[in-house]
């Protein structure tokens, strides 16, 4: 799924990274605890979060998160925006709540991080 499709499904506003919407995302995770982002995510995931400060983007950069979606209509603060511009991580915002955002993306075929390897193996086996 491309980030442009994610934007359409969740009716997102693009805060940073208009030029990066053709980027492919293969999996996603939802977390408000940055410690969990560092512990449980995989490289290349899309992050959905309600945390809007600088650390939401720093943790994303550290964990190789491809793009960040802020849920519940939240907007990243100025520091987060400036870090995202520097590290070229697209930031989007949706008015939908966390559960609905994750549910809609999942329904459209975007898988969770724990499923990622399994699906890849299945493709290899075919």
């Amino acid at each position: 799924m491309t980030l442009r499709e994610v934007k359409k499904i969740l009716n997102c506003t693009v805060v940073v990274g208009d030029e990066a919407l053709d980027m492919e995302v293969d999996m996603a995770c939802g977390a408000d605890l940055m410690s969990d982002v560092l512990t449980f995510t995989k490289s290349g995931a899309l992050l959905l979060t309600g945390l809007t400060n600088a650390q939401s983007v720093r943790a994303a950069e550290v964990a190789d998160i491809k793009a960040v979606i802020y849920v519940r209509g939240k907007m990243p603060d100025n520091e987060a925006i400036s870090i995202a511009k520097e590290s070229k991580i697209p930031l989007l915002s949706t008015k939908l709540y966390m559960f609905e955002s994750c549910g809609k993306l999942y329904k459209h075929g975007l898988i969770g991080i724990s499923e990622y390897r399994e699906v890849k193996n299945e493709y290899t086996a075919r």
């Binding site: 940055m34 410690s35 400060n53 600088a54 650390q55 720093r58 550290v62 964990a63 190789d64």
Partner: protein, 144 residues
């Protein structure tokens, strides 16, 4: 013991305690340095996650800290020395879920009690020593 003379690259960074906005800057700088050197991305991710957790520990619990990065031909060594409150019970601090974080730290998305266990999980060598009201020393290595 490795010395900076043996290293491919070495650099020292300062970490400012209590600065939640700049916290994480050292980790992202190191990520860029390791990328430039051409280290494998899966190794970089492990180093940088460990460094970020350690850096945020300094930001949250110390007045200041010094981080030394040494990239050796076959491993990456990081030593973080801070001046701060220290850790009273390291064994307890290593338990997942144990945290002494304040409300402010939790609002920043930290303080889930995953920091030290997550550092240990990502590295090949882990050693920590600490003295209450003096500070902590953390030694980590990752084999390339």
């Amino acid at each position: 013991m490795n010395t900076p003379q043996d290293s491919v690259y070495s650099q020292q960074f300062e970490i400012v305690g209590g600065d939640f906005t700049r916290g994480g800057q050292v980790a992202t700088k190191i990520k860029r340095i390791l990328k430039e050197i051409g280290i494998d991305s899966s190794i970089i991710r492990r180093v940088v996650i460990a460094v970020y957790e350690a850096e945020m520990n300094v930001v949250m619990y110390a007045q200041k800290g010094i981080l030394n990065l040494m990239v050796m031909p076959s491993e990456i060594d990081v030593v973080i020395v801070d001046e701060g409150q220290g850790i009273a019970d390291i064994k307890l601090a290593m338990e997942e879920g144990y945290s002494t974080a304040s409300v402010e730290m939790r609002e920043m998305g930290f303080g889930a009690g995953m920091g030290l266990p997550n550092i240990k999980k990502n590295v090949d060598y882990f050693y920590i020593q600490s003295e209450v009201d003096v500070g902590s020393r953390l030694y980590i290595s990752i084999i390339i």
